[in-house]
Amino acid sequence: MDRERFSSEPEARALVARIRELVDGPAALMEVCGTHTVAISRFGIRSLMPDDLRLLSGPGCPVCVTPQREIDRAIAVARDPRAIVVTFGDMMRVPGSGSTLEREKASGADVRIVYSPLDALEVASLSPDREVVFLGIGFETTSPTIAATVIAAEERGIANFSVLPLFKLVPPALHMLAALPGRALDGFICPGHVSTIIGSSAYEPVASRHNMPCVVVGFEPLDILGGIVMLLEQIREVRGGGDARVENEYGRAVTPEGNVRAQELLDRVFEVRDSDWREIGEIEKSGYGFSSEFVDYDARVKLDVDVPLDAEATGCICGEIMLGTKLPTDCPLFATRCVPRDPVGPCMVSSEGACAAFYKYERNEG
């Protein structure tokens, strides 16, 4: 399956021309996936759009929406010499209220970066006298891999392994965004890889309850341009009095029902809880905690690490950016006091945050 074929220039030109035909007034589309954020910036797609069409980055970066207090909790765990913190690399440089995992590691804490959560089980079996704590960050793409790892730990009798559950769910965030007063959004570019797990049908309630066009979109240039065309055609119908629906541009990876096996593992290991999103606040039923069957793997219960509530007064506008009312370039701190090497707000912290992607690829275009 040749990815190059989804970058073909003649088709890309045709899709851009079609987008220009379809835009006949102000419209705003939002993606909620860090991989889309980076792809749109890196391929220069925003610069090809007509002025009336705004492409916005919502709360699509799980690292960015993790509350600072939880980073502080991970740091507190890392400072305990009995613990080994195991994480995806994305979390290393995220600032807590006074430190980062990277700094703790440099000061002697045992913090290890892995490619797969399964690697954490190898760490645990090689260090039976230490508690191995995996940072459970991610949307529905990642949470099934961690559910499968927890089940593998149980099967292999590995008891010195636990997970700090910081997972987030995408559809509840879309409901919250679609219901914001003033209706700043006209359609959602739905996240392709989250959708492989939850299926395109997971967005039906978003489309029907809010009459909000939703299109599941892949990550190559033609995917994104094609997805925008599908959204614009649907927006035209909705503005003419039609009903919004869910469409799927990424049919090669996403089915209506999603990955049923992955959903079964999620249902077994976790249960849905309310969850706090950094700079946004609590969203109902938008996170996972452990189910009673697997509570022994909950690092929060097992270690009982308490950390103070954080202030999070940064002076940045990340909250407004993630809600779709502002762009990174609207922030007075952007590229001045807030830069990737020394980030102020969460959207600059991760390479997949809207501000970091703008900084790297679109700083001079505004």
Binding site: E11, A14, A17, P144, E249, L265
Partner: protein, 76 residues
């Protein structure tokens, strides 16, 4: 963070497969795609194959894009 890379399964042993990413081969868990078989293209995220890719659907999407390009070319 939700980056997933397509690769082709070359071998399957139990719930683990070898996946070829254009010349680089990695061991990958097939726990989430129990029906995957050698020759299948899969999307891989964090060491797990999360879905089998459909070549048929890929061709259909590409043909939609081509039709659109053709239709625009026909316009005066």
């Amino acid at each position: 963070m939700c980056l997933a890379i397509p690769g082709r399964i070359t071998e399957v042993e139990g719930a683990t497969g070898l996946v070829d990413f254009g010349g680089v081969t990695r061991e990958t868990s097939l726990t989430l795609v129990p029906n995957a078989a050698p020759g299948d293209y899969v999307l891989v995220h964090a060491g797990f194959a999360i879905e089998i890719l459909s070549e048929e659907e890929a061709e259909e999407t590409l043909s939609l894009f081509r039709d659109l390009a053709g239709a625009l070319g026909d316009e005066p």
